[in-house]
């Protein structure tokens, strides 16, 4: 396992950041990290006119692609779908000669309103988060990227404890640092449900 630093591209999508507690905090914890590029899609494209060439160039400049967003209706806010539809072009991301993203790591970082217990057969959401993220997972697979277990902040509707929020945010920061510095064994992480759990694998700092 090589120890060279990876470059991380954080595609952030939240339509009302001024009302956000969790996602806003998560971004603020990681945006100044060296090696991390935050691309705030609603800020960059308020009219949804995505600059495909710029976005593809950004993808090529980074090794880890992260989608960070609230888990609206079991998916992403609208602009991230627009981004996928336009940027992940045939011949670039998939299909004939579409190998430009091959070998990159792909991570989803989401906040969910319901707690983890809601995401199971007996819960109101019936499916597990991993099952519901299948479209993202398959997108990554089709583009030849390694799909990492998601980073999840669950139950945010009832999360009022600022310390708990902050602890999620600092875990998130440590996770991104670990991905950047390549201090985690990817094949080990792949066995986990969430990236949150991988923090236990880190050597105590």
């Amino acid at each position: 396992m090589s120890k060279t630093a990876r470059r991380l591209l954080l595609l952030f999508a939240h339509p009302a950041v001024h009302k956000s507690r969790v996602n806003h905090l998560l971004v603020s914890y990681v945006q100044s990290l060296p090696g991390v590029t935050v691309n705030d899609l609603y800020e960059a494209y308020p009219r949804f006119l995505i600059n495909v060439a710029r976005e593809q160039a950004l993808l090529l400049e980074h090794d880890v692609i992260i989608f960070q967003h609230p888990f609206y209706w079991y998916s992403s806010p609208a602009i991230l779908k627009q981004w996928q539809d336009l940027v992940l072009e045939f011949g670039f991301a998939y299909g004939k000669n579409g190998t430009r993203l091959h070998g990159k790591l792909f991570l989803t970082a989401i906040s969910t309103g319901g707690p983890s217990s809601a995401y199971q057969r007996s819960g109101s959401n019936y499916f597990t988060i991993r099952e519901l993220l299948a479209p993202f997972e398959q997108t990554a697979r089709l583009c030849g990227m390694t799909y990492l277990p998601p980073f999840v902040v669950p139950g945010v509707l009832w999360m009022d404890d600022e310390h708990e929020l902050a602890s999620y945010a600092s875990t998130y920061r440590r996770a991104l640092e670990a991905l950047r510095d390549n201090t985690l064994d990817v094949s080990e992480i792949m066995k986990l449900d969430t990236l949150n759990q991988a923090m236990a694998l880190l050597p105590a700092s």
């Binding site: 001024h18 800020e43 308020p46 309103g113 959401n125």
Partner: protein
């Protein structure tokens, strides 16, 4: 008693102006005529509120002319003045010389001796700077070619007053024993003039800005106003001392200061004084008209006035031709300067004092000049209402172009609004037939390489020739409201197949279009002001998407408002205004709710206030 007398006089002057100027304006005759008539009414021959004192008032009021020339100078940058040197000395000399000659010949026909006849010619050769510049500015013609030539000739006339004053005493029937100044004094005089003029130029260039900068530091606005006045008064005084026209000196100072950073400051400070003094000046001219003279010889006086106007206009027209003014501009030029000059009053008094001619002739000259000044505003109105429209309609009589293609889209009007549409559609390979009836605009757009047809889209034949019967869309981008409404009705009546997209000048235009049943209405400034507010919100820290949504929520609401209000437009005004207020109130409420954390239009994007059971919500958030 004295002070109350002053107050009474001031009251009369101001009241006369306040009453008569708005009436004259309302009648489309310009403020000058209003002031003149006010003067006639309060003058010695009607109500007699002001009597002999009006001569003194006129002396004070003449200073308005000085200020006006300062302001004209401020508008003229030195390079513009340099460009005008031809008209000033060429057209100016011709005008004064020819007019004086013709008037003198006419005077000879009235059995005047040759000397007095030349004096009369010279006195009548000038035109009223006050009336001409004021009226040209009011109509917005000062920057046209005709307006600039007028200013040039007026400047020369100002220069010419000095030699005329020198020559007049020599024209008397009986030579008075006044001797001209000795040569050494002339030498000294020339040096003095040169020195003063250079002082004005150098001082204006290098002294005014630093001084005003220092004064600005005091943050006392009245001191700056005082300094501006001081500047003008000082220059006028200096010019008077060396025997030059004060108006000319301040004009020169104005030109020198035209490029200074305090130009607008000076303009704003002097403007009200100039306006009031000029008004006062016109009032005193009105008051000086001797009505009894006109009453006793109405036909003679009238023909003299008309004769004077005709001679002056004809000479001016010929000069306009020589300097190759376009016909429409030439009419503006020759009618603007056809009246007699305010200097004539001074010159007549001077001539009578020097016994060049007698008081009776002097009175008649003053009456003729004053009446020609009264006639001047009418000449302007005639030019505006009768002569100029002929030229523009003649321009429009350029034959409409043959249209040799039929396209799905017709764009009517390719000015600053329509041009963008034509370009965007062109970039998407949409074929358009573009019409405009401004020949200059058509030629310009053609030069850029676009295909534009010259023709009036609001005419049925033109619209039919443009393929309106086969086209899908008619984009009405013309900026004339009545023309736009007429075109809408024409299209609706004869080409119901056309889908209309119409540019609206303002809300009122939009209301009227809605009343006509037009669906696609675009208020021309709406998008631009929304864009500006979006940027303002962003600079205040709003996220881009939030600012965008705020602006577009506002836009939706505003467009709905226009539609709702259009129904009541043109009915009862009180009812209409009431509804406007109510609508604005609801808008306030809308944005109040947007400001509050919940519930706004974005409430789906936030945590519900009272979250129930954890399992209920499948939608993750925050």
């Amino acid at each position: 008693m004295e002070s109350s007398d002053y107050l009474f006089q001031t009251f009369i002057y101001l009241a006369a102006a306040v009453v008569s100027v708005p009436i004259a304006k309302r009648l489309g005759l310009g403020s000058v005529l209003g002031y003149l008539l006010a003067g006639v009414i309060i003058g010695p021959h009607v109500f007699g509120f002001i009597g002999a004192a009006s001569g003194n008032v006129m002396n004070v009021a003449q200073f308005g002319v000085v200020m006006m020339l300062f302001l004209v100078g401020l508008e003229l940058r030195p390079n513009v003045l340099w460009r005008l040197r031809g008209p000033i000395f060429g057209s100016g000399t011709l005008q004064v010389g020819l007019t004086a000659l013709v008037c003198a010949v006419v005077a000879l026909c009235f059995h005047l001796a040759i000397g007095p006849a030349i004096a009369v010619g010279l006195i009548l050769s000038g035109s009223s700077t006050a009336i001409a510049v004021q009226s040209l500015a009011e109509k917005g013609w000062l920057t046209t070619k005709g307006g600039q030539t007028s200013v040039a000739v007026l400047l020369f006339q100002d220069l010419a007053v000095i030699p005329i004053l020198a020559v007049l005493p020599l024209l008397g029937a009986a030579h008075p024993a006044t001797t001209t100044a000795p040569h050494s004094a002339t030498w000294f005089q020339a040096l003095l003039v040169l020195g003063t003029v250079s002082a004005i130029i150098i001082g204006g260039r290098f002294l005014v800005s630093p001084v005003f900068h220092l004064l600005a530091l005091t943050r006392l606005h009245e001191i700056i106003t005082a300094a501006a006045l001081l500047l003008v008064v000082g220059i006028a005084l200096a010019m008077q001392l060396i025997g030059l026209s004060p108006a000319l000196g301040t004009f020169l100072a104005g030109v020198v200061l035209a490029e200074s950073e305090y130009r607008h400051e000076l303009e704003a400070d002097i403007e009200p004084f100039k306006g009031l003094l000029l008004g006062l000046f016109f009032v005193s001219v009105g008051a000086s008209i001797d009505l009894s003279l006109i009453q006793s010889q109405p036909i003679l006086m009238c023909s003299l006035v008309i004769g004077l106007l005709l001679i002056k206009a004809a000479v001016l027209y010929a000069i306009g031709k020589i300097s190759r003014l376009e016909n429409s501009q030439n009419f503006t030029f020759s009618l603007a300067l056809a009246q007699g000059s305010e200097f004539a009053f001074v010159l007549v008094a001077f001539a009578v004092n020097n016994r060049v001619f007698d008081q009776g002739l002097g009175d008649r000259l003053i009456a003729v000049v004053a009446l020609s000044m009264v006639a001047a505003p009418f000449l302007f109105t005639i030019n505006e209402l009768w002569i100029q429209p002929r030229f523009s309609s003649r321009l429009r009589q350029r034959q409409p172009d043959e249209i040799d293609e039929i396209n799905p889209v017709i764009v009517a009007g390719v000015g600053r609004y329509g041009a963008v549409i034509a370009r965007l559609l062109n970039s998407q390979n949409i074929k358009t037939t573009v019409l405009d009836f401004d020949p200059e605009q058509v030629d310009l757009i053609r030069k850029i390489g676009f295909k534009v047809f010259y023709g009036d889209a609001t005419r049925h034949e033109m619209l039919a020739a443009a393929g309106a019967a086969q086209a899908k869309l008619l984009l009405i981008a013309i900026d004339d409201v009545e023309g736009s409404l007429g075109l809408v009705q024409l299209a609706q009546k004869h080409f119901p197949n056309l889908n209309l997209l119409v540019r609206a000048k303002d809300r009122e235009h939009a209301y009227r279009l809605i009343k006509l049943g037009v669906r696609n209405i675009f208020r021309e400034t709406l998008e631009s002001s929304l864009e500006m507010s979006v940027e303002a919100l962003r600079l205040l820290g709003f996220g881009a998407y939030r600012a965008y949504r705020a602006a577009h929520t506002f836009k939706e609401y505003d467009e709905e408002t226009v539609r709702v209000l259009a129904e009541y437009y043109g009915t009862d005004e009180k009812d209409f205004l009431g509804r406007v207020r109510k609508r604005v109130q609801t808008l306030d409420e809308l944005f109040e709710s947007e400001r509050a954390v919940s519930p706004g239009p974005d409430s789906a994007w936030e945590r519900p206030k009272a979250a129930e059971k954890p399992e209920e919500k499948g939608k993750g958030d925050n």
